[in-house]
Amino acid sequence: MTATPTRRTPEPGSWLGIPAFPKAAPGELANETQRRNLRHATTTIRAKRVVRASEVPNWEELRTAGAQIKDRVGRHLDEYLVQAEEAMTKAGITVHWARDAADANQIVAEIAKAKGVDEVVKIKSMVTQEIDLNEALEAEGIAAWETDLAELIVQLGHDLPSHILVPAIHRNRDEVQDIFTREMGLYGTPAPEGISNNPEELAAAARVHLREKFLRAKMAVSGGNFIVAETGTLVIVESEGNGRMCLTLPETLVSVVGIEKLVPTLEDLEVFLKLLPRSSTGERMNPYTSMWTGVTEGDGPQDLHVILLDNGRSNVLSDPEGRAALRCIRCSACLNICPVYERVGGHAYGNPYPGPIGAILGPQLRGMEDERDRALPFASSLCGACNEVCPVRIPFTDILVHLRHKVVEYKTAKHPTVEQGIMKGAGWVMADGSHLATVQAGERIGGRVFRGKWLGPMGPIPIAKEWLKGRDLEPLPTQNFRQWWKKNREGGQR
């Protein structure tokens, strides 16, 4: 796949081609290179996180404070939004509001056009991924360049990100070498002749390729990790310095920020700046954190915009049981510990937020209309590891179970399902011991027929097929528990 002459940037992969999780997962599972890459990466980062979290003596108290601060913001969000808007405006930032992706994309494109720019540099941002900003700008003839190394790998690879923090986690150094050699020259400074697969050489090639773009850029687009409501201060954490380039050098900076990213006061930052780096990259602190409070004359962008984006966040907020998902600070610890994510990778989730956080955010942000969103609450083994690592104590498994309930409600609201029939039958069986005994009599006959033989995978059984697909059938018993009890425990035997 190469860029057609009408495009300014590499054509990306598409989420639309990805089927619902149960259908997408087997294909991803079969990709052995990806599984190897993922296992290596998640194992490494899990080990680092444990070390860095255990260095902090009051880690559990910090997690509680993080959860409380975010809950406070969520429950009083209207107040904090108005306060933040006022503080930002006073500091010289132009504040915009966006109901959805279309609103936000249009605002960014209009600012670019008003400035007469046909390209922007971008710092990695989950929210612009969520609203598909790059493609919206491309359609307006504006080239958006990703400047984070992993995002660059994804963009030049005509690929999709597969992780919140390390979007190219599914790629190894050989694949990166191929992508850089093939694509860099089509969009700017080519990779050096004969570049190897050494990460240092590859990073150096990205430095040279992107420096040219940083120096000529007139406008940048970012997301935002936090906005302090009290002062209107924006905070962005990063590692490479590409963020600082975007936030400092261009004349115009547009930051698209989800409405849930507020914290009440400057002091609250102490909690999150301890929790976030240790949870995400397993470092004591990320290399760079930028904080700016409006325009500073003679330093940095002189035209600052912030777009406050809803795009489904108020839906999440409207469910008292599900709203804890809005505490998320996008650290990705839940992805890194998730046994499901580790095996299938990020693409199978079919949305920019993969892993446990994607499974609870996707269906809440976008609703249950799409089959892919209805499948997500089931893309989990409910092992609960994500609950334990989350720096803001999101009760993932509670929300997953709650959403499963909602999916069932959604399905049965339309028409009764086979599942409901089965459950009705099961209800009758379990309601009375004599009913159970009748059913078990049938089972015992089966047990004698098969003589304790293990029956193996039970794919072809009709109706129960879906349920049995992932499970083997144990040998049918030849006696039930009551009979065993009578024989072994009653009447003083044993």
Binding site: L62, R75, H76, R99, N172, L215, E240
Partner: protein, 217 residues
Amino acid sequence: MSARDEVLARVRRATADVTEKDPDRDVPVDWAYGQPLATPDVLEDFVEKVEDYKAAVRRVKADAVPATIVEAMQALDTTSVVLPAGLPTEWIAAVEAAGIVTHGDEPQLTHAQLNTIDAVLTTTAVGMADSGTIALDHGVGQGRRALSLLPDRHICVIRADQVVSDVPEGIARLAPAIRAGSPVTWLSGGSATSDIELSRVEGVHGPRHLSVILVED
């Protein structure tokens, strides 16, 4: 309805179940803000954590600072340096005497000019020991943000009394500058990435080398 009014209306509908109107009373936060961290030797801790990022740290007395700056620059093969306004004259004199080409930033250098300069020398606002973080509030001696971004090496001088134990005290010290509208930049080592197979590579876009001179008296 404007997007603003609509988003706010949706948010208010979504939180209609919240009856306590005072956020602090509705969700109390069990946290004591601004607490220092118990540590036997704050400076020792700071040095250890900064070095862990592969940054070079030199601990010196005040009178040795000019010579140490020159030494740190030469160790990084520096031939040219940008000097923000407000640095002590004896530092500037020492750098010039060593034959390193100096650039001032008044009038402002262009980004392209900054890109060709090897290094930058700055003072510091705060150091945070537990995370090994250095914070600039871009006040006197620290220059605008681009100065400590485009040159490849950053030599940074910090006084012992600017080092605090942990992030909470750091935030407390920086809060007045932030409230006054200053931009703030936190540095923890040099630029780094772990995007390829999670193997850490020092130096991508920001300065690839950070040298810290800790002044004790």
